[in-house]
């Protein structure tokens, strides 16, 4: 049963998980960058604030440097050290150097860098620079502040070196970093939550669609009625279209099957009774004739089956094959050529009058079938000695194909019916399955061509197939 839906394989990945993973990765990368930035910022901010303490303290000391009897005197202000004590846990080292690096007071063995870097001037009197060095077994931040001391009898540079261990600035940097980490973590969580909710909400219509499909009975081919966003409404449309087609196909198939069964059963029953009669007939000549009828009936049945198969194949090919570009005039000519001999056998003249170079997109097999059926029909219903004309010409924007015979024609009342499958005109004694025109209609329908039946004068039938311009190429 080609109807049964293939069971889907268990999904290897889910959109939700993939989106979440991507979000996590993105958030992770952003967080890492944010943390890095926060860390460097916190170091800088903490360093800056405690450097200011050092500067402030050094300036306070600088203010308390004076000359006394030509000697440099430092009256260390307590306030300077109270400023530094704002970093309560840090040790402090200091010294004051006079001109020529003469030791004036403080720690004699503090390290000094060989090269002064990043020297800043503040005002005319001061210049300062910072450096890091280890002293007393701990990392220490040092400031060297130089002050030009000029008095009437003295001129020289006094240098104040002030160092502080880095506990407080590390602690502050750590605290700022921690805050940043907390902030980033909170933002991370919020973002994750929002994105998760967003993903859930976005994927909910898909879920709904899944559920609607899952709950559907297998024979229910009515269109889906689920509210979905634009992105997947196309999918639903396609599904609905598919189901519509599937429904149509199923209907046709059902009808076809029952009609075919009917069409085959009736001749078979006839065949059987004919064969039975023949078996019971004692007269040799009569039995011979009856057996001839059996064979004739079998032929007709075989013809019918042939047509049925043809149509099945045709329908299948129309649905499964892509349309191709083909030269319609050559195809028509070809069919006429093939049927010219059978026509002559019936003493019917087949004439073709066509315009060259007409191309359209279509199914070569189906079109050939359609043409064959049309022309064969025309030949079949023509009186010996008459003719069948096949014409192909451009008509306005499209192409008009007409097959004209001088047969009995079809009464107007029957014209709408003849395209139905297995319809046989009540007065029709010619052999035929009743499928020929049904096939023609199917092929014409596939090519969006319109079919028209007209009366010929004085008698006969004109079948017109009009291909619209959209089909031409």
């Amino acid at each position: 049963m080609w109807l049964r839906l293939r069971r889907p394989e268990p999904a290897r990945w889910s959109i939700r998980r993939k989106l979440l993973l991507l979000t996590l990765m993105l958030l992770g990368v952003i967080s890492i960058f944010a943390l890095r930035a926060a860390q460097s910022y916190s170091q800088r901010a903490a360093g800056l604030s405690y450097d200011r303490l050092l500067t402030g303290a050094a300036l306070q000391i600088a203010e308390h440097i004076g000359l006394h009897d030509g000697r440099v005197v430092v009256d260390l202000p307590r306030a300077a050290f109270e400023t530094l004590a704002l970093a309560p846990e840090d040790r402090v080292f200091y010294r004051v150097l006079g001109p020529g690096d003469a030791h004036i007071t403080g720690y004699a063995d503090l390290p000094l860098p060989a090269v002064e870097t990043d020297v800043r001037h503040s005002g005319d009197a001061f210049r300062q620079y910072f450096f890091d060095a280890a002293y007393g077994g701990e990392p220490v931040r040092f400031l060297v502040l130089s002050r030009l001391l000029t008095e009437t009898d003295f001129s020289g540079t006094i240098r104040i070196q002030l160092g502080q261990t880095t506990r407080a600035r590390q602690a502050l940097a750590g605290e700022i970093s921690l805050r940043a980490v907390q902030l980033v973590a909170v933002l991370f969580l919020i973002a994750l939550l929002l994105v998760s909710a967003g993903i859930w909400m976005t994927l909910r219509p898909l879920e709904r669609l899944n559920r609607a499909l899952a709950q559907r009975s297998p024979v229910d081919l009515s269109p889906l009625d689920v509210a979905v966003p634009r992105e997947i409404s196309r999918l639903v449309q396609t599904l609905n279209h598919l189901m519509l087609q599937l429904g149509g196909t199923l209907n046709r198939l059902q009808r076809f099957t029952s009609e075919a069964a009917h069409q085959i059963r009736t001749p078979l029953a006839g065949l059987r009774s004919q064969a039975q009669n023949a078996r019971a007939e004692e007269d040799e000549t009569l039995r011979w004739r009856q057996l001839g009828q059996v064979i004739e009936s079998a032929d007709r049945l075989s013809d019918t089956v042939d047509q049925l198969l043809k149509q099945a194949v045709l329908t299948h090919r129309l649905r499964s094959e892509q349309d191709e570009r083909l030269a319609l005039d050559e195809l028509v000519l070809d069919v006429c050529r093939d049927l010219a001999v059978p026509a002559l056998e019936r003493d019917v003249e087949l004439a073709y009058d066509g315009t060259a170079g007409i191309e359209l997109r279509g199914n070569r097999f189906a079109l050939r079938q359609m043409l064959q059926n049309l022309v064969e029909n025309a030949i079949r219903y023509s009186e010996p000695g008459s003719d069948v004309q096949v014409k192909l010409q451009r008509d306005g924007s499209g192409v008009l194909l007409s097959v004209t015979d001088r047969g009995p024609g079809i009464p107007d009342a029957e014209k709408p019916l003849v395209f139905e499958r297995f319809y046989r005109s009540p007065g029709n004694s010619r052999s035929g399955s009743g499928l020929g025109l049904a096939i023609v209609q199917e092929v014409a329908g596939h090519h969006r061509a319109s079919l028209r039946l007209k009366d010929n004068t004085p008698q006969g039938l004109i079948v017109e197939v009009h291909f619209p311009s959209g089909r031409l190429s």
């Binding site: 005197v73 430092v74 009256d75 260390l76 202000p77 307590r78 300077a80 050290f81 109270e82 530094l84 004590a85 309560p88 846990e89 840090d90 040790r91 402090v92 080292f93 200091y94 004036i104 007071t105 403080g106 007393g136 077994g137 701990e138």
Partner: protein, 357 residues
């Protein structure tokens, strides 16, 4: 025998007014079998702190205590001279010098439940800890007052001295800040904080104040009537003497009272840091602080210990703003050579004619 000898020696030393210039060893054998030796260098009066040492040894009978007594300045210099040979615990009331040693990286950090109970200002870097609480007070021999009321503040004291004039000439006593560490500490600290110090110094000089090298000597002179006012005496000693001598009145000034602390730290190179910390914890424990308060006549630093003495008792008894000198880098200022020189110079200039006992 040895203890009595030491006490005698100490007494003798004070009599000849050289105080505890040199190192003095009090070797306290372990109460039980000796398992460890604890070397303590201290600037505290042995007699005053003895009950605590005894209590400690009762608690840890295996520890032999070698208690080296110094003057606070000598203690500092001895520490630096003998480095890297250090005691297991250094205890002194010269907070500036102690802080200087800690700042220069000689101390080992220690944190325990006991140290955690100290107020912020009584510890620094978890390396140095305040143990006792010593208000700098002035003491009067009320005999000379002649029904005048006891001065309650520095301003009133200054007024009194001016009024009495010649009556108090040569009869005011204070520490010789050149030779006594705590004297220098309190004086230099007050100097930076208040302006009244300058007026006091001027007055001390004109009244030919006598300079002493220990609280005990000053109080003795006060009891004898050699002096009538003793300025900046340590409150614990003063109260102990006042209890015995009803003529002495202890005053915690209404304007402010500077409070110093006996502080202790465990040196980095201590050979027995474990027992040193045990000792430190004991000193700061409820038991140790209570002994300080009740028996040792030293004031415990912890405010929650209410004994006969102590910070809380002081607050209950006197209407004086107590201003402890906080531990921290500002104390380094006082240890600066040049700063010290400037302060001493001012002092010397005031006392132009040296008149020292």
């Amino acid at each position: 025998m040895k203890l009595i000898g030491a006490a005698l020696l100490c007494l003798l030393a004070t009599f000849v007014s050289c105080s505890v210039d040199a190192e003095e060893l009090h070797d306290l054998p372990a109460a039980g079998r000796e398992t460890a030796v604890l070397e303590v260098h201290a600037g505290a009066d042995f007699a005053a702190i003895k009950p605590v040492l005894a209590a400690f040894q009762r608690r840890y009978p295996g520890i032999r205590l070698r208690y080296h007594e110094f003057g606070t300045l000598e203690l500092y210099h001895a520490f630096l001279e003998r480095y890297p040979q250090t005691p297991d615990l250094v205890m002194s009331s010269a907070m500036d010098l102690q802080v200087k040693l800690v700042n220069d990286g000689y101390a080992h950090p220690y944190r325990s439940a006991e140290t955690g109970r100290l107020p912020e200002w009584a510890r620094w870097r978890d390396e140095i800890f305040g143990i006792t609480y010593e208000p700098a007070v002035f003491v009067l021999n009320t005999g000379f007052l002649d029904n005048e009321s006891v001065p309650a503040s520095r301003a009133e004291l200054i007024d009194l001295i001016r009024r009495k004039g010649d009556q108090v000439r040569g009869r005011i006593g204070t520490f010789d800040i050149e030779r006594v560490g705590i004297g220098y500490l309190v004086w230099s600290h007050d100097n930076q904080r208040t302006a009244s110090n300058g007026r006091l110094l001027e007055l001390f000089a004109t009244q030919e104040a006598r300079l002493f090298t220990s609280s005990a000597a000053m109080l003795r002179a006060l009891v004898r009537g050699d002096i009538v006012i003793a300025y900046n005496v340590l409150g614990s000693y003063a109260h102990a003497w006042a209890k015995r001598h009803p003529l002495l009145t202890v005053v915690l000034a209404e304007d402010y009272t500077t409070v110093i602390m006996r502080t202790a730290f465990v040196p980095k190179m201590a050979r027995n840091p474990q027992d040193a910390r045990r000792f430190l914890d004991f000193l700061l424990s409820d038991e140790g602080q209570q002994v300080l308060a009740d028996e040792a006549s030293l004031y415990p630093v912890r405010g929650d210990i209410v004994g006969e003495t102590g910070a809380s008792r002081l607050r209950l008894t006197f209407n004086s703003p107590l201003r402890p000198i906080p531990l921290g880098v500002p104390l380094l200022v006082q240890t600066d050579e040049m700063k010290r020189e400037l302060i001493l110079e001012e002092w010397r200039r005031a006392f132009d004619s040296p008149d020292r006992q």
